[in-house]
């Protein structure tokens, strides 16, 4: 059973890794300017030399924007304010463990937040408002999209 579940976990991890990085909005209507939203992002897999756990955006205030089936966004635009974020956290070593964690935080307009986690806690690290300072952490496929 354990081998099968590890295989499934590896498969879902592989599917997540294989899907093209996406930016998703968590609000209705037209796209909003960078100054109006907070951007939560998952650093690209090679952003850091160590094999740290990876945190993917799953939901905000109980509404899901990332799932196994739909994949997880590489960056997510969220309306600023007090929010509860759910992240999918998994060990970068393939198929070792995976968990879902909640965190409450206050998001500021125009700020970029790096999602991070370990087995027990998740956090959204405020990386400030300067896009150029976080650009190198983002997957190449969404860099231009987020720069707008």
């Amino acid at each position: 059973m354990r081998r099968t579940s590890l295989a499934c976990l590896a498969l879902s991890g592989a599917l997540t890794a294989c899907s093209a990085p996406e930016v998703r909005n968590t609000y209705e209507g037209p796209d909003r300017s960078r100054a109006e939203v907070a951007v939560l992002f998952t650093p690209r897999p090679d952003a850091y030399p160590d094999k740290r756990s990876r945190a993917h955006f799953s939901a905000v205030d109980g509404k899901h924007y990332g799932t196994y089936m739909a994949g997880y966004p590489a960056a997510t635009k969220v309306v600023p304010g007090e929010v509860m974020i759910k992240v999918n956290c998994f060990d970068a070593q393939p198929a070792k463990w995976e968990t879902f964690l909640l965190l409450r935080t206050r998001l500021e307009a125009g700020h970029y937040y790096e999602l991070a986690c370990d087995h027990f806690t998740a956090s959204a690290i405020d990386r400030g408002t300067n896009y150029e300072s976080i650009r190198h952490l983002l997957p190449a496929a969404i860099q231009d999209q987020l720069a707008r």
Partner: protein, 229 residues
């Protein structure tokens, strides 16, 4: 899948049999009312376990359609909502009931919860207190699991245990439990859809959590005061 759910449910029911019940009797009733002091102590609870079908062979991707395989961990739910340790909440509620309904003026709540492991031998309180009795409360398990027929419908369960121990000789004067399992009469009041753990800032989950602590404290209070729940 079904087999696992049935086994988990059975385990929850059987937990009630794990403790040897010592019912209230004239000796324990007198000790509760006449002791110079009844110290109410509690043990820290373990983590809250939320069952997910992820570990079930082949069910991970399938179950994700229901959301039940993407449930947040119990501890992160508690942290995000600022929920108390169930034993703290239960202990506070139990104390209120005993004071109000049992007119017990000798109750004294210990400020700090004891850390585990749980010490079964009641005589260890002799090293800490000089006299009176100890009313000890612990939550041996709490969590939520889905039904065998539906991965989306969860039932929150709690298994609490309480003992009345005479300090002078460590004798267990009374021991009873509250076992809010998936097949208990009030189970419908503890059911929630998988989405309700997070929707509306967890309103339904918080309601179920609070209800369960209240219900457990009610059962234990009624047993201590020899009333029907």
């Amino acid at each position: 899948m079904k087999k696992r759910a049935v086994m988990l449910s059975a385990a929850a029911v059987l937990q009630g049999c794990a403790s040897q019940i010592v019912p209230m009797n004239p000796e324990s009733s007198a000790a509760l009312k006449q002791a110079s002091v009844v110290r109410v102590v509690r043990y820290q609870s373990g983590g809250m376990n939320i069952m997910t079908p992820k570990e079930v062979a082949g069910a991970g991707l399938l179950a994700s359609a229901t959301g039940s395989s993407e449930m947040a961990t119990g501890e992160s739910l508690k942290r995000a909502y600022g929920l108390p340790d169930p034993v703290d909440d239960m202990s506070r509620r139990l104390l209120e009931k005993l004071k109000a309904e049992g007119q017990l003026a000798n109750l004294r709540a210990e400020p700090k919860a004891l850390s585990r492991p749980f010490v079964e031998d009641g005589s260890h309180y002799r090293g800490k207190y000089q006299d009176g009795v100890v009313l000890e409360l612990s939550v041996e398990g709490h969590g939520a699991g889905y039904g065998a027929m539906s991965w989306k419908t969860y039932t929150y369960t709690v298994y609490g245990r309480a003992r009345l121990i005479r300090v002078s000789d460590g004798k267990v004067l009374w021991l009873d439990t509250c076992n809010l399992h998936a097949f208990a009469d009030d189970a419908d009041k503890r059911k929630l859809d998988v989405s309700e753990f997070e929707a509306n800032k967890g309103a339904r989950f918080k309601e179920v959590y609070s209800y369960s602590n209240e219900r457990c404290s009610r059962i234990l209070a009624d047993k201590l005061l020899a009333k029907a729940s």
